[in-house]
């Protein structure tokens, strides 16, 4: 009887040792999803609004005007290119429209993730591939989610105060 108890105990210990040495499989590592996957691609214009921020702040009407039917803006397209690893590369404006910002160059986001604060992510536009010469910043005021629409804002400011902005409402074309 004593011998049987010993045998059972040894069997239990050997099983514990066997399972205890086995490595637990908790899945392989994946790169977290970034905003680049949502923001990169081809975007066409749904509407373009010019907002008089000075008039708005001083409650003067009118404080906004729609521009999409002027200056060929119905043909406006913005291409935000990504490489195979979902990193931002070059950008290009298509359509024969007035150059509110440089029509081609390189881009990146101020943060690859959605911020937890109220500050909007910015699309930074550069003239050089090394992204050292910033030409413009566009505020990303609406990020694509359940709909494939995105809103960016180009703000004109003087001495730190915005006096005019252009709001581009875009929709994905790819």
């Amino acid at each position: 009887m004593k011998s049987l108890r010993l045998k059972i105990l040894l069997l239990g210990l050997s099983l514990v040792c066997f399972w205890g040495c086995n490595k637990t499989d908790d899945g392989s590592y994946t790169t977290p999803i970034t905003l680049y996957e949502k923001v990169g691609g081809s975007w066409s214009l749904k509407s373009l609004k010019m907002v008089d921020e000075f008039a708005k702040a001083n409650e003067i009407k009118p404080d906004e005007q729609n521009l999409e039917s002027f200056f060929n803006y119905q043909d406006f397209k913005l291409l935000l290119n990504l490489d195979q690893t979902m990193n931002p590369t070059s950008y290009k404006v298509e359509g024969n429209v007035p150059p509110l910002f440089e029509p081609s160059g390189y881009w990146e986001l101020s943060s690859p993730f959605q911020p937890t604060t109220a500050n909007a992510v910015r699309i930074k536009l550069y003239s050089d591939a090394s992204k050292s010469k910033l030409t413009q910043e566009l505020r990303l005021t609406s990020i694509p989610g359940s709909t494939s629409d995105m809103q960016v804002q180009l703000v004109r400011s003087s001495e730190g105060t915005a006096y005019l902005s252009y709001i581009f409402n875009l929709t994905a074309t790819n």
């Binding site: 000075f54 008039a55 009118p62 007035p98």
Partner: protein, 357 residues
């Protein structure tokens, strides 16, 4: 098979008509008549306000009317002279006709028709207004309405037509009189047009039109009839009907004038209020005067001059200038000079706008 051939024939027949290019000039903004009310066998002048259309003041306009009949049928590409309108100034054209004669139909046929439906067009038909209708006010119920006086409109305006009906059957002493006259004045008899029976021209001017059956009609435009000066404000019109040589009169009558509502003043704005040379400059003018359809601008930016124009209508003329492209790459600009005038060469604004850096 036969039906198919008919359909193809019809298609070939219609093709040249439908493929003809046509400029739409816009809708007639207002139509009125003088006299205000009239019988179909009475001469009338129709007025067409074309402000807000693309017709210009020096263009010849023609009437193309297809109801109650089509007097100029077959001549769309070369309207007849009888269909030509007269230009009255201030973008108003007129057409004078006696409906029964012009349409070669009876008054009963006109009354039973769909009414007066038309377009206004240029001579060769390459430019046309929208479809318009001249409305007609029937008044034959007056005869049995047991009313001594009825006016159209009920409240007259100084510069607009007025028709006053008089039922002499309801007035004592008017039975069988040779003529009936309008003895009247504005603003409690302040400005007079008396019936002076001994003066033939005054007697004729004040004489009512005899419509038969004891019904008479007086047509007038107060400002012209009384010769009032510019700016005169009419508050009422006092009158009485007088039988020839004052043989009989009716009691004093009064019509209170319609309230005069002046149009809102024009307003010009730049948009936005602050701008850089990399932005669009908007110009907006609302409540435009009649006939003002275009804003012409000249922008001077350093050595560069930008010129252009925007078109619109009475309610609004609006447009944007692309400074983004025009001033791209220019350095040292601190302001632009903007001169805006209307299509009558009247200066709207002549100002300098500072440019934000």
């Amino acid at each position: 098979m036969k039906k198919l051939l008919y359909a193809l024939f019809l298609l070939c027949f219609l093709a040249p008509i439908t493929s003809r290019s046509q400029e739409e000039a816009g809708d007639v903004s207002k139509i009125w008549s003088y006299p205000v009310i009239y019988n179909y066998d009475e001469e009338v002048t129709w007025y067409f306000d074309m402000a807000g259309t693309t017709f210009t003041e020096d263009e010849d306009l023609y009437i193309w009317i297809w109801s109650p009949s089509e007097p100029d049928a077959g001549n769309w590409e070369n309207s007849s002279d009888f269909a030509k309108l007269s230009y009255e100034g201030n973008f108003i054209w007129s057409f004078t006709l006696t409906p029964t004669t012009y349409f070669s139909v009876s008054a009963e046929d006109i009354a039973a028709s769909a009414g007066f439906w038309l377009r206004l067009k240029n001579k060769d038909g390459s430019k046309q207004s929208g479809v318009a209708q001249v409305s007609y006010t029937p008044f034959n119920d007056f005869e049995t309405a047991n009313e001594l006086i009825r006016s159209y409109p009920t409240k007259p305006s100084l510069d607009e037509g007025l028709s006053i009906l008089f039922n002499a059957n309801l007035a004592e002493g008017f039975d069988g009189v040779e003529s009936v006259h309008f003895h009247s004045g504005l603003n409690d008899w302040e400005v007079l047009q008396e019936y002076q029976a001994w003066l033939p021209e005054i007697s004729a001017k004040t004489q009512l039109k005899d419509l038969g059956g004891g019904i008479y009609k007086m047509d007038l435009i107060p400002s012209e009839y009384y010769g009032t000066e510019d700016g005169y404000v009419m508050t009422n019109l006092n009158f009485l009907m007088v039988a020839k040589d004052w043989a009989a009169t009716i009691p004093d009558q009064v019509l209170n004038a319609a309230e005069y509502i002046p149009p809102p003043p024009p307003e010009f704005k730049f948009f936005p209020l602050q701008i850089s040379q990399k932005d669009f400059l908007g110009m907006i003018r609302t409540n435009n005067e009649r006939g003002v359809t275009t804003l012409k601008y000249t922008i001077t930016a350093g050595s560069k001059i930008i010129e252009g124009e925007f078109t619109g209508g009475t309610s609004e003329i609006k447009g944007f200038v692309d400074l983004v492209t025009e001033l791209h790459g220019m350095s040292g600009l601190s302001q632009i000079h903007v001169l805006v005038s209307d299509n009558n060469d009247r200066v709207i604004t002549d100002t300098a706008i500072p440019l934000k850096k």
